[in-house]
Symmetry: C2
DNA sequence: ATACACTAACCTACTACTAAGTAAGTGTCA
DNA sequence: TGACACTTACTTAGTAGTAGGTTAGTGTAT
């Protein structure tokens, strides 16, 4: 397989693993067996685990950009745009998974410094995305930033709760997030 | 040192480690070195890591009971009681830590079955605690359960966000939680 | 004497990471 | 056209370090 396809394939599988079990707990061994390669081959594409971690952060960032682009091309109510962001975000996370950014945050103290920075960057970017969508609802920048953090914290906390209390929690939370957006 | 004191000491240190780095990532080796013991000695008190995990869940449950007891003996507004619960909960978590229940949830798919059950139990118990405190504010049981889940999700999500965006986030969130309680 | 709290030394499995080698292809020059 | 240098995408076989867990034995207080 050519370089770019294989790299993408590894990033995609690693992202699934991170959503399932976190950054520190997934291993090149698991990953390689799933892809029908050797560990060494993954090291060929991503010299260190850290390099793969950084590539995944980039991947998440690209995903955010694509979502914002898709949402801004929709002709719907501004309130609906914010909710659409959350719907899209949740739809990429299976019921046995958590948000990959949350997974990185859970392992944060033991990440290599450069990966910490990348996680910080993508975390802040996501908050910025939501805050900007909220700007079309009410024009209070400070309040929107605070609201964005609340909405995101609640959504991601809920995704983790889902593991212990079951699936119906996300509907319960979504309804209440809608009230907060209003 | 006598059995009960040592056991308590191990649980206490392990709880700190779980708040800092999660259940899967803390090790008997680290723990033993901190306590000036050997790994084997910790295995003497807690045969398996799983046993220690269960003891920590018990410990968290006892902590919840004590908080509810303390809060119910206060002569304050019902709204304030709910907020006091959150203040107490947050005060036990340092700025480089996350909620231990969240930490267990983050590692959930790879916990032994019996520990999963214990985490589920303590998760639901905490939701029950908050929902009951809310019963003194508004008497709508279903809505209070939903509100409890929202408040807890937001708080715990925010504790994880704090690692990537810094400490001032908790004040921002607390103010907004107060509005939701009203 | 016996139970308790502990240690030294070990085992197996798994982690990230590396060294050395190879088959298949690409580009270039006589 | 064909020989040569080089690259890509891998493999096999390792390294050192750490994980959870075990076994057999030691010191001590009652």
């Amino acid at each position: 397989m050519d370089m770019e396809n294989r790299k993408e394939q590894i990033i995609e599988r690693a992202l699934v693993h991170i959503k399932k079990r976190g950054y520190l707990s997934f291993s090149y061994d698991h990953l390689s067996k799933e892809l029908g390669l050797t560990k060494a081959s993954i090291h060929y594409h991503f010299e260190k685990k850290e390099s793969l971690g950084l590539a995944i952060c980039d991947r998440i960032e690209i995903g955010l950009d694509q979502m914002i682009l898709a949402i801004n091309s929709m002709h719907i109510d501004p309130r609906e745009k914010t909710m659409e962001f959350f719907r899209m975000r949740i739809s990429h996370i299976n019921s046995d998974e958590i948000c990959p950014i949350s997974a990185f945050q859970a392992d944060f103290p033991y990440l290599p410094e450069i990966l910490k920075q990348s996680v910080q960057y993508v975390t802040k970017k996501e908050i910025g995305c939501v805050a900007e969508l909220l700007q079309d609802v009410h024009k209070n920048k400070n309040k929107n930033e605070a609201k964005a953090i609340l909405l995101l914290s609640a959504m991601k906390g809920a995704l983790q709760y889902r593991r212990a209390v079951g699936g119906e929690i996300m509907e319960t939370i979504s309804k209440q997030l809608e009230e907060i957006v209003q």
